[in-house]
Subunit: 124 residues, 4 copies
């Protein structure tokens, strides 16, 4: 059924917050987003862990997605337990207690025109 | 067999219609597309539901894809039961009565040169 | 084993050859590519079918990928049985007699700076 | 469990290092990245093989990802047994002795503003 579509285990191997931006609009500042869809009837409680190349993981970061809602979570909005460093390669896993769908997007506006990329995350 | 490739349950966690565009050509206006392939021998009747961050879902939106045809449905062409708001995060599910393949694409022309992103949607 | 990785049935729901290009370099002309990896020990014989919104499918287009080789097939290079129309939505299926991996890429250079998008195709 | 998410067999059918770049910053030079997440408790030993259109494969290239770490491996950093040629279509397989997640990204800065594309690789 559509209202339980998804998986509880997700991973995004690519992660990088570009170090600067061109343009004033907050929506056009370089950023990455973890888009979560909870199409089901129960709230989704998320635990996000960030992995790095040369240090131990950070997290878990906690978030909640209400039933039949989406959450487009900007990685640069994460602060607890620590902010995500810029210009630093990272990766992430997203664990949920109910099925969700996760999609990863980056907007890079370091140069005069922004670039975009997206992919459905890996569900395992 | 190729003529029945696909799934009946699809989800796209990312959705965002950029708030403005650069350029006059309709094909270069900022938009998102839900590309559907019905490679089979029976028509596909679709029910699309849109999910938001802070309100109840919209839909279902109805569409039909004839046998052995594709439909590249622009989200900004949806009007019934309501148009899709711009500059607002959303997500979507696509239900079909026969197997289909769904791919999500955004063209963003807010700045001087357009940006593109695409992914095969999640099938569950 | 790595040398048989893949599937024999693939689909790409998005397809669109932009109608024009900026720049002289052939590699920077707007195009779409069907990238095929045949990591196995036997040749892959491909049958590609193109689907449209308002007419019957075109094809099959035939191609062959030798063992342990890749083929980056530009859709605008297809001519038999007919060329792919520009500025026209289409979709495609790729059938192979041995396992392959398929990835879809578009380069759009209609504006001053090119845009890119890619996704692993859908395997069914 | 999150700490064993992934697969041991991965493939990327698209591969192309653009022939030139605009801009001085190394992070903005045209490149492709094989992003690997090893969320597990054991090191991941990788064997990467590159496939071409008209010659035998190159490799295996060896890399190691420590437990609970990510590695964003630039293809233009590979040198042993041989560097990756520019402006040449290729594809790749990534074999690991423990489960990993692989994502493929290209940054193309041949023109005035960079373009990006990404996809979770194919796991088989």
């Amino acid at each position: 059924m559509a209202n339980s579509i998804g998986s509880r285990h997700w991973a995004i191997a690519e992660g990088y917050l570009p170090g600067w931006s061109t343009g004033e609009d907050p929506a056009l500042q370089s950023h990455e987003t973890c888009c979560v869809l909870n199409a089901g009837d129960a709230p989704a409680n998320l635990a996000i862990t960030l992995y790095f190349e040369d240090r131990d993981p950070a997290g878990p970061y906690r978030a909640r997605v209400e039933p039949r809602r989406t959450l487009h979570l900007r990685f640069d909005a994460l602060t607890d337990p620590e902010p995500v460093p810029r210009a630093t390669p990272y990766a992430s896993t997203i664990e949920s207690d109910v099925p969700i769908v996760v999609q990863h997007t980056r907007l890079d506006s370091r140069q005069a025109a922004n670039a975009l990329m997206t992919t459905i995350a890996y569900s395992g």
